[in-house]
């Protein structure tokens, strides 16, 4: 099972130590639990949740399945993954719609969690789904917060109601409801000011906003980078104003997002959506299995596959597969592959999503510009050169280096890599009689760089 191969490097180390043993001892399991505990704490999963989880996992691991398995490490990883998914929920949770036909969604959270941006993203998402949303900002505290929402709303093409001169948040909220109904909108998204849960006055304000708007969904916006305090924040908001679910933001960063697990476990409330980028379109449904993999550092294989399928041009892929079979893989095809890789996003992003890459490659060392340089080199070749790399003599290489802003050494390196890839492809094509029919992708043999 590729997906479970190499859980965050750490577990692999424990498993490696056990290699050769036919049976797992209690001691081995204990050591693995220690590693899992550390991995979860590193991912900012709440300490209490970690404790419960470990108890749960060790209980499940004691069964004969692990003890008698030939691959106990993988068995445990599987158990951990399942335990996490159990907590995160088996299914995706949809946004509630009010039976009255007028839905109010109130967003709240700590300062800087990304409420305003999320409000606009949510509005765009609903609009795309055929709803008629309206945005309002009742943030009377942060300078220019209302203006920020107004600009984002215009970008999303969604009406926005703001009153920057009005000092009372609840007043604006009440008027926004009236306006939204008057304009025959079916959803009102209320963006509130960021607040700390220990700030009594601000919590009162939030209550009064909730009172006048009577929200169908009260959603907490949580930064994926938040630490151990996440649970207390969620519990306090739940206690004071009520909580229907949460949206996790900034998941495009490198934070593991362990808080999602903690909040889900301690409040029992579902994750409704996740935000994965700076563009307004970057809001997605939440898939528990993917986040579980991320928390464990196993890579988000599913998202990657989805991205790859969206980016890969089927026809082109088939063409190059055909070429490999006929042994005609050329620099031109390599150029195609580079372009396809680039479509999947940044290399670091791709590497991060690959399982088992975590430990093996220092992500810091991955240079996205390397692909750009390779692209530039191939593009500086003539069509004939691309089709027949044997033409590339010293003077041609010099010209290519100058044309692509690189050095002859870099050109040489690329050609060498191409030749290696070609050789590999030849071997690959020898087997393709057996495997090709199963729809193996040509780049499956490893990226040629």
């Amino acid at each position: 099972m590729a997906i479970f191969h190499g859980l965050s490097g750490k577990l692999t180390a424990v498993v490696n130590k056990m290699r050769g043993k036919t049976r797992v001892s209690e001691q081995d399991i204990k050591e693995m639990m220690r590693e899992i505990r550390l991995a979860l704490l590193e991912a900012d999963v709440n300490f209490q949740v970690v404790k419960d989880l470990i108890a749960d996992i060790s209980e499940r691991s004691k069964g004969s399945e692990v003890m008698e398995s030939l691959t106990p490490g993988q068995q445990i990883v599987k158990i951990v993954n399942e335990a996490l998914i159990d907590i995160l929920g088996r299914t995706t949770s949809k946004l509630a719609v009010s039976p009255s036909g007028f839905t109010v969604i109130m967003l709240y959270g700590l300062q800087g969690a990304g409420k305003t941006t999320t409000a606009a993203k949510l509005a765009l998402l609903l609009k795309k789904r055929g709803k008629k949303p309206m945005l309002t900002s009742v943030d009377v505290h942060r300078p220019a917060a209302a203006r920020q929402l107004e600009i984002l709303a215009a970008q999303a093409g969604v009406p926005c109601f703001i009153q920057p001169e009005e000092p009372l948040a609840a007043e604006i909220a009440a008027r926004a409801v009236d306006r939204a109904r008057y304009m025959l909108c079916d959803t009102l998204i209320v963006d509130t000011a960021g607040r700390m849960t220990i700030d009594r006055e601000m919590m009162q304000e939030l209550k009064s906003i909730a009172r006048v708007t009577n929200p169908t969904e009260k959603l907490l916006i949580v930064d994926a980078m938040i630490g151990q305090e996440a649970v207390n924040v969620a519990l306090s908001f739940d206690q004071e104003v009520g909580l229907d679910g949460f949206i996790m933001t900034k998941l495009d960063g490198d934070a593991r997002g362990g808080a999602a697990l903690s909040i889900r476990r301690m409040t029992g409330k579902p994750i409704k959506l996740i935000c994965v980028g700076e563009k307004l379109e970057d809001i997605e449904e939440f898939y528990p299995d993917r986040l579980a993999s991320r928390i464990l550092g196993m890579g988000d294989v599913l998202s990657l596959i989805e991205k790859a399928t969206a980016a890969l041009d089927e026809k082109k892929a088939k063409e190059s597969l055909e070429k490999i079979r006929k042994n005609q893989f050329s620099l031109e095809d390599m150029l195609d592959q580079f372009e396809q890789v680039k479509k999947m996003g940044s290399l670091k992003d791709v590497m991060n999503k690959l399982p088992g890459m975590g430990g093996k490659i220092d992500i810091d060392q991955v240079d996205d510009r390397a692909v750009d340089r390779s692209l530039a080199i191939i593009r500086s070749m003539t069509l004939r050169e691309r089709r027949n790399h044997n033409l590339l003599n010293a003077s041609r290489r010099k010209r290519i280096a100058a044309g692509s802003g690189t050095t002859v050494q870099e050109v040489n390196r690329l050609v060498r890599r191409f030749e290696e890839t070609q050789k590999m492809m030849k071997r690959f094509s020898g087997m393709s009689g057996k495997m090709g029919k199963k729809g193996m992708r040509p780049s499956g043999g490893g990226f040629p760089f």
């Binding site: 300062q111 800087g112 300078p143 220019a144 920020q148 930064d223 940044s346």
Partner: protein, 307 residues
């Protein structure tokens, strides 16, 4: 004394948490056995101190116990305090050189409070009589320029800004020229929030840093990384990446007064050795103060008898 009090007040919640926890662990016996030391370690981890820093602090406590044999609450507390201070390292404050331009560049991930910190720093230096200029190099986030301009109006400080969506490096260039022409003492540059794993955005930051170096070679440039105290272990990764891209001089820890337990300060200091220069302890203009590690550690831990 004033700073000490505001620090203590700001950290009240954290203080209650650690102090209560510490006293609870030691309550029955007045001394520490191995299990209680484990509890203490967990207490630190719950405060976001992180596994590495908490482990190193606990090692020191265990070593000390082995060496001296004193497992009293008082002794453990003293070692804890000492090793926390050691983790935080020598205090370093934001240095304003007289007679030359000082450029303060604020960087960080999204939503940590860079613009607010820019505004508060501006208010602080205006009050002490410096000639300050603000540069709105966050041209990406909607209304970021307006937000900074608001601070400019409030403090009577000119703001150099371009249109939204323009090249931030160009804003920096213009701001430096303006600072030179006006003989400004301190130029404060607000930049867009960026996630540290996005190479293109980090490149943009490097470009800004290059322009400062080229256009104001004689100026003293202080790059401050703004970190939200509510952040978990990701703060370590943030510090490492930003340090590489923009020669970070020190850290600003914001929102230390609120829900945060603030232990991340120790995690970052332990893993990166970066000095913490400023702390945000509230919404008020005057609530941005010089970070003082002794006070910080003191306000976290229960009062111990002065040695």
């Amino acid at each position: 004394m004033g700073i000490l009090n505001s620090f203590k007040r700001g950290l009240q919640k954290t203080r209650d948490f650690v102090t209560e926890g510490f006293n609870r662990i030691a309550a029955n016996m007045g001394f520490f056995d191995e299990d209680m030391l484990d509890d203490l370690e967990m207490l630190l981890i719950q405060a976001d101190v992180g596994i590495a820093a908490a482990g190193s602090i606990m090692d020191e406590i265990r070593d000390e116990i082995k060496k001296v044999g004193d497992i009293s609450q008082e002794a453990v507390l003293q070692t804890l305090e000492r090793s926390m201070l050691a983790v935080l390292g020598q205090p370093r404050h934001l240095n304003i050189e007289e007679g030359t331009l000082t450029i303060i560049l604020l960087v960080g991930v999204n939503g940590t409070g860079k613009t607010t910190t820019a505004g508060k720093l501006c208010a602080r230096y205006k009050k002490t009589g410096y000639n300050v200029l603000l540069g709105a190099a966050d041209t990406f986030r909607a209304a970021a320029i307006e937000q900074l301009s608001h601070w400019g109006e409030m403090t009577g400080t000119p703001v150099i800004a371009h249109q939204a969506g323009s090249d931030p490096a160009a804003v920096v260039f213009d701001a430096i020229q303006a600072a030179k022409a006006r003989k400004t003492d301190i130029l404060i540059l607000d930049t867009a929030g960026r996630l540290h794993n996005k190479q293109n955005l980090m490149d943009e930051l490097m470009k800004i840093r290059r322009i400062i170096r080229r256009e104001a070679p004689d100026a003293s440039c202080q790059t401050l990384l703004v970190i939200d105290a509510t952040t978990g272990q990701n703060a370590v990764s943030q510090t490492k990446f930003f340090r590489e891209a923009s020669d970070v001089t020190g850290l600003v820890i914001t929102k230390l007064d609120g829900n945060a337990k603030g232990g991340v300060v120790l995690a970052v200091a332990h893993e990166t050795g970066m000095p913490i220069m400023l702390a945000g302890l509230g919404e008020g203009v005057e609530d941005l103060v010089d970070f003082d590690s002794t006070t910080f550690v003191h306000s976290l831990l229960p009062d111990s008898d002065p040695v």
